[in-house]
Symmetry: C2
Subunit: 382 residues, 2 copies
Amino acid sequence: MRKISILGATGSIGSQALSIVDAYPNKFSISALSAHSNAEELFSLVRKYRPSAAALTLGEVPIPKDLSFCSWYFGETALEKIARDIPSDDVLVSVVGMSALKAVINAIDTGKRVLLANKETIVAGGSVIMPKCDLFSENANLIPIDSEHSAIHQCLLGAKDNAFNSLILTASGGPFRNYSIKEMQNVRPEDALKHPIWDMGKKITIDSASMFNKALEIIEAKWLFAAKPSQIDVLVHPESIVHSMVEYKDYAVVAQLGVPDMRTSIMYAMFYPVRMGAVSERLNLSDIHTLHFEKPNTMCFPSISLAYEALRLGGSAPCALNAANEVAVQAFLDGKIGFLNMADTVKYLLSKDLPKAENADEIIYADSWARFKATEYIHSIN
Amino acid sequence: MRKISILGATGSIGSQALSIVDAYPNKFSISALSAHSNAEELFSLVRKYRPSAAALTLGEVPIPKDLSFCSWYFGETALEKIARDIPSDDVLVSVVGMSALKAVINAIDTGKRVLLANKETIVAGGSVIMPKCDLFSENANLIPIDSEHSAIHQCLLGAKDNAFNSLILTASGGPFRNYSIKEMQNVRPEDALKHPIWDMGKKITIDSASMFNKALEIIEAKWLFAAKPSQIDVLVHPESIVHSMVEYKDYAVVAQLGVPDMRTSIMYAMFYPVRMGAVSERLNLSDIHTLHFEKPNTMCFPSISLAYEALRLGGSAPCALNAANEVAVQAFLDGKIGFLNMADTVKYLLSKDLPKAENADEIIYADSWARFKATEYIHSIN
């Protein structure tokens, strides 16, 4: 039985991870659970799974008496403490944002395995995290959960070092795949929040519509798989059945396919290197019948080019891209800026002299700095 | 530098293997070359590659004086002698038919690695060959070259034992994919010999049109990958870009894709476990744009069901299926029987009391017996 901590237990990925724990009750015991603000749901999870620690990252609330069996942590530093101090084999990190950076580093540094569903930490902190990580051996200490990176991980199993020629990230293309630039300019938040395939939070839904999620994934892929930027391609695939691909040096392409269901990637990470019986539906390609592939329209989706630009700049540029995008998404959702202004905000940031990002504290500073500058820029264009 | 023998050097696979030797001149030296009847071409290959042995399996011919540096073998037993006696790291077996069975067994028994492009030996002799074989370790001694089985091999790299749920063989569906039973009955040899994708010999082209090639591949897959018949599926995929797939226990599907070019599978086998730089074209999925998948029409293609029936019967039934099909293909090409009579011939054989097939000699006997019975049957329906 493996001990697992689930940071972000009340979110979409966290809940699905718990559903896998439920499906395999003899395989896991829960070491720790966290939520940001949803205290009631966290209480009920703590009652059910009886972890030795629990955290609410928004801040302190009164804890029901029957839940005093577990150690409670509150506030911003809760996750990094839990990741360091609470014994666990695995730490599943499904909280959003940079708040997970120190938690990821602490978990790795204390010999735990991180199952990572948080993009920001690798995008901004890849240079700090990756030298500590092994993704493929029996003792792997970092397994990606993002469906694209999980797919690439699966396609690279058994590959010799550096045997790949390129990594091909597939993208649904989002709801505006066939829009003109003019139509893109007029996209409103309510248009963007109808995403066809996955059930996701608002931030991720907007990122999917702007393809900034793919921009983040390009940067993630660079760090996770030690790829050069020129080795990473994006291919639009509206059906979202092929979750990503690896092209090897001999031009053989290996792809991972499945119904769009995050539980497959979560389960893959939780049980790696063993494959367990499915909790999701079986792929039936003859029913689906047709799969489409096309190049992304980089005119309408400047996010893709901005990712390569951030990688070219290096240092804190990927961190700035991520931070500026987060600020811009919120401004777009609040009706303050237009859809394409999100990319403008990121572009503006990448044109600045950027701070260093050589350790966790510098990365966190660069993140705050970029948020501040992005907010300033958004004010200036209003 | 690895020493390689190429049995069937003047055929399609053999020539392509030699083109890879040419592309990587410092990687291979040629130990032996064989041809069936094309003496002139074999002479010129022997002049070029200077092997230590050469063979013409049709029978003895006068050897030019300048080629006396190499040991010559003639007739039916040439290949089994070369496979046993000529030192070599690899023996690429691209001759067609059962004549390769003893060569494959001898190569394996003398510690050589077999790169196998011959379907019949595994179909008929799987039970004898496979207990001696390792397909995946660094010391693998059998690597399939058939594009479907090469694809499955690539999709299984790094997999734990028995982690797959099913093997999905893709099939182009051949030129009669959308025909009715009535149209199938009226197919003439010249209709069948126009295959859209691969440039192949007549026998393989007819097998592709009748889907008996897929029937043979189902049986091969059972032996090569220790799959149960219920774990093997066939999916029609007219573009022939996805070369086959593996469904894992967690319903993750891993597929191998590429432009239809046998050199990729040949090179994969020749360099396994290393991937070398491509000699074929790069796959461009956005140019191809659309991939289709559908169930095979088992009414019009009884070959598929006959493969499962042969596996159910076991013993020499797969050998009988292969032998009867070979006889029937020739009779069809000679205008003696109709297109669907090929399947009738196989079905007739599978209804008989079949001989044992527990060693190489029994398999060779069962093969001759089935050819005799198939010929008898074809006479009876004329």
